[in-house]
Structure formats: C-alpha cells, structure tokens
C-alpha cells in the first residue's frame, strides 16, 4: 500500500516564497487536485515532488523512501508542461523511451496504450507531424503502460478534447482503484470520485 508523506515543505523562487510549511499525506487510492492562481506554486510543488527541483526545507517520502532514492524515483511518474516528445521519433518510439525511463514495457503494451488514447494508426507517425492535442495524447498514453504508483500530472487536460479528457479521467480513477495515488494540477473542472483539493 503506497503512502506519500509531505511535511513542512517550503518553496522559494527568487525572492518570492511560494508556499511554506506545507504538509499533507496521501494514502493509496487518493486523488489530490492542487489548485491556486497562476504563479502560486502548483508546478513548483509537482517538480519538488518529482525530485526535479529542491525545496528550501521540508521532507517528503513515499513508503519511507526519501526523494532522490532509487525506490522513490521508480515509484513516480511525472508528466509536466513540456511534451517530452522528440520530433524526429515516431509516436511509438517516443512512448517506448519515455516509459523505459520510468518502467519497463512490452511492444504489445505500447500499441494498446496508443490505441487507448485514440491513436491506433499513429504508431509510426513522427511526433513533429502531430497536433498539440495528439502530442498530449501520446504523452498521456504512458499512463496505460507505467507501473509507477504515484502519478504527478501537470495540467494533463490541456489541449485535449472532451473525449480525451474522459479517457484520462477513467484511467486515473482505475489507477487509484488499484491502489495508486494521483496528484494533478488543472484549471478545468474534473470528474474524479473522492477528489481532495489543496489550495495554494
């Protein structure tokens, strides 16, 4: 059973303190939406949780594994603002490498993941030729392959149509039903059961 513990986290960017002494716990199956105005530190919080940025002070752990450790980093999947796709690679090659950086996968799983996000015949299409929404779908198809327990999703619904949003919401719900944890930021209304909200 996964458990994420954040205690007394303080984040400062330049001379601005974005948040201080932030503490919360998430147990298996919980979904947390981080909300707040632009510049309130939502993305910074996700990047700190992902181990990409460091906090001024505070502690965070997943199942007592500290951030930066092998176990912590293999437990998380972070999908940020940037597409994480290389234009010279096919959708499938991009997804393959992205998931390889997180967890292993099989060829069949990649095909299924792309099919699940509505990109069945786009496996061998170069990422450079995709629309913004399609690029987002390719990145989010990693959610169907990864074995990470804690998902950190920064504005996952940006550029998606309503059908795409439904597919991702269903996958997030399934992940949490299976004992996973999801933390996301979004300015859109989302239809996720048992959603907790953290205001920054």
């Amino acid at each position: 059973m996964s458990k994420l513990i954040v205690s007394d986290l303080t984040c400062q960017r330049g001379y601005n303190e974005l948040f201080s002494n932030l503490s919360f716990e998430l147990n298996a199956g919980e979904i947390l939406k981080i909300s707040g105005a632009n510049g309130s530190g939502k993305t910074s919080l996700l990047k700190i949780l992902a181990g990409l940025n460091s906090a001024e002070s505070g502690k965070l752990s997943i199942n007592n594994n500290k951030v930066g450790s092998y176990d912590y980093q293999s437990d998380i999947l972070y999908l940020g603002h940037l597409p994480a796709l290389s234009p010279e690679l096919h959708c499938k090659e991009n997804l393959d490498y992205l998931t390889q950086l997180n967890n292993s996968n099989s060829n069949q799983e990649l095909d299924n993941a792309l099919k699940n996000v509505g990109l069945k015949n786009f496996e061998y299409e170069y990422a450079a030729n995709l629309s913004a929404g399609q690029k987002r779908r390719v990145v989010l198809s990693a959610l169907f392959v990864t074995q990470a327990k804690v998902w950190l999703l920064d504005e996952p619904f940006t550029a998606l149509d309503s059908n795409g949003i439904n597919v991702i919401e269903t996958q997030i719900t399934k992940h949490c039903d299976d004992g996973g944890i999801c933390i996301l930021t979004t300015h859109q209304e989302c239809n996720l059961p048992g959603l907790r909200i953290l205001n920054l």
Binding site: S74, L82, A84, E88
Partner: protein, 221 residues
Amino acid sequence: MNIFTKTLTRDLKMSLRNPSSFLNPLLFFVIAISLFPLAMSPDSHTLSNIAPGIVWVTCMLSVLLSLNALFHYDYDNGVLEQMVISHHSLPLILLAKTISHWLLTGLPIILLSPLLGMTLFLDDKSIYVLMLTLLLATPSLSLIGAIGASLIVGIKNSGMLLSLLILPLYIPILIFATSAVSQSQFNLPINGQIYFLASILLISLMASPFVSAIALKTSLD
C-alpha cells in the same frame, strides 16, 4: 535492452533523421582545412609544418560547434527532465548521449583526417600519428564538452559562454596532440604525449558522466 543501449540508439536514430545536426560541424571541418592551402602558400613544406595545428584547431572548433545540440533539444522538449527524474543512473544516460555525440562527430573526423592530412602534405607516419591522437583525444573533447553543455543547458544564446568554459580545458589536449604530430614529422619519440592524451581520456571518461549529471541537476533546479 538496458537504458544505456536504448539512449544510445535513440540519439543515433534522432541524429541520422536530422543529419544537419552532425553534418554541419563536419562540413566546417573539411571546408576550413581545405581553405588553408588557398589562403596561405601552397608550398608543401610550409603546409606540412603547420598541418598539425590546422587539423587540431579546426577539429576542436567543429566539436565545439556541435556541443550546443548535445542537451539543447532534449531540454527544450522536456525529455531531459524525464532523464533527470528517472530511477535509472543519470551518469549512464549521459555517457550514452556523449558516446553518440562522439560517434557522429569525433569518429567521422578521424576517418576524414587521412584525406585532409594528405592535402596538407603530411607524410604517412604523421598521418598515422594524427589519427592516433584524434582517436585518443576526440572522445575527451566530447566528454569534457558534455560538462560544459550541461552547465549552460537552460541559458539562451550561450554559445560564447560554452566556448569560454570549455576551451581552457581543451588547451592541454591541443598542446599534446599537435606536439605528437609535429615530433613524428622529425622522427622524434611521441610516447610522452600519447600517454598524456590517454590519461586525459581515462580521467574524463571516469569523471565526466558524474560531473555532467551534477551540473545538469543544478541547471534544471
């Protein structure tokens, strides 16, 4: 397939699909060297005397030209972030990227060097030594360059900064490599220079992936 092989094949695949990324520095290398006989005296004695310096300075500048692209595109599209937070060893991923850079920059320079050496009237033995110095030192250029490239990864228009950071570290390589080729032209022993180049390669091979990883994490923080 492990992450090292995966990263190496991915980077090679990406570069081969976008050939200008590695052909431009190579073209610069060939064009710059072939202009020297036109700009200076076509006399074989003069050219063969300055050939080691011409080839090595041009080689360094062409490697420097290609270094900006080492992490830049992966940074721009967010793949670098994924590499940094991955549970896989970041130094191993960066080593794979650096080897891919050498395979597409250093190796073609080594393969082209006999032809360019001949245009500068280098004798057979000196061409062999030139290739040996390039074989020992171009990997060091890529490895040391990776440290500089990871330090400036988030900075826009940082070409000049990269040169200022990296060129001082390239100077010992330049001195030993050109000295080896020059001495071989006079049939003098070159063991000392070759040992120095080999030790620089070993040190940079051991240190560069770890230093680059720390620099990259600091740059992205």
